[in-house]
């Protein structure tokens, strides 16, 4: 680990990270609340009616941020698991284990809000097209991580086995992203990430979506900070700094 910069070493130290996470959580939470409320106001009130989908298109302001977050959380989880597997950093596994339940919830939310959107627009809650199916696989990857982790008693082994699953599951991420281009899908193509020419051009439509998405990401950071502290306690309970922090020396 010699080549890792010093601040990484410090960050990977559980007591240091624990205190840092504790200090940052209220601020992250505050920023997330402001952004999400602003995004919701922009999406529900300011954004003009879509010429094809009417007011029904406003579901985009919760659907797309959830779907993006479901992928971002997976990337964070798989990267943390890889770091944990390669350098055997316990904190990295604590991060990966904290991502799984949050990621599963947001994948569920992306699928559910998608179904609610699909019903009036496509006439069906669910279709087995490539985008929907690969997102469903993402949900199973999260649930698989949780189940595998829970099935192994010894935490170090559980971290490694579930971590390996998370790393292998990364192949699904580009499949989800490109599914709307590789296959003929009912799901519409990307609205924002098409390089150079996003199909949402009206800033009054686009900006609330970006604010909401950033809000979701900051929200995730806040929830992650709380969960990682729990995971760190589960792994470090025998250390002295833990009893010092918990105040029962």
């Amino acid at each position: 680990m010699k080549f890792l910069p010093k601040f990484v070493h410090r960050l990977a130290s559980p007591p240091h990270f624990y205190r840092l996470a504790e200090r940052w959580t209220p601020w992250l939470g505050l920023v997330a609340i402001v952004l999400i409320l602003a995004g919701a106001y922009g999406g529900l009130v300011i954004a003009p009616v879509d010429y094809q989908m009417g007011d029904g298109f406003r579901i985009i302001y919760v659907h797309v941020p959830s779907a993006w977050l479901s992928l971002l959380v997976y990337m964070v989880m798989a990267s943390a698991a890889a770091v944990g597997l390669i350098w055997r950093i316990k904190l990295a596994h604590a991060v990966a284990a904290s991502c799984a339940p949050v990621g599963a919830w947001f994948t569920f939310l992306a699928l559910a809000t998608g179904a609610i959107w699909g019903k009036p627009m496509w006439g069906a809650w669910w279709v087995w097209d490539a985008r929907l199916t690969s997102e469903l696989v993402l949900l199973f990857l999260y649930l698989g991580y949780i189940a595998l982790h829970g099935a192994i008693d010894e935490r170090t082994r559980a971290d490694r086995a579930a971590g390996l699953l998370a790393v292998v599951g990364v192949v699904n991420v580009p499949i989800i992203h490109y599914s709307v281009e590789w296959w003929t899908t009912l799901h519409q193509p990307a609205s924002i990430t098409k390089m150079g020419s996003p199909s949402i051009r009206d800033p009054a439509m686009l900006i609330p979506l970006l604010i909401m998405s950033i809000g979701f990401m900051v929200y995730f950071a806040a929830v992650l900070a709380i969960r990682v502290r729990g995971e760190v306690l589960e792994r470090e309970w025998h250390k002295r700094w833990v009893s010092e922090i918990l105040g029962d020396t």
Partner: protein, 51 residues
């Protein structure tokens, strides 16, 4: 106001999606806090049984 709530006839879908999102956002905060609290209780108990 009535027009806003009606969402051009999509009220059930739009408010349903936003409502569900609110529930999931709040729930994840509650679950994370509960997990941390219970981990702290477990850590204390295990620590107590060591000494």
């Amino acid at each position: 106001m009535q027009e806003f709530l009606n969402m051009g006839g999509y009220a059930g879908y739009v408010w349903g999606a936003f409502g569900l999102t609110t529930v999931v956002l709040l729930l994840n905060v509650v679950l994370a806090r509960r997990y941390h609290r219970q981990a702290a209780i477990r850590a204390r108990r295990r620590h107590g049984s060591l000494s």
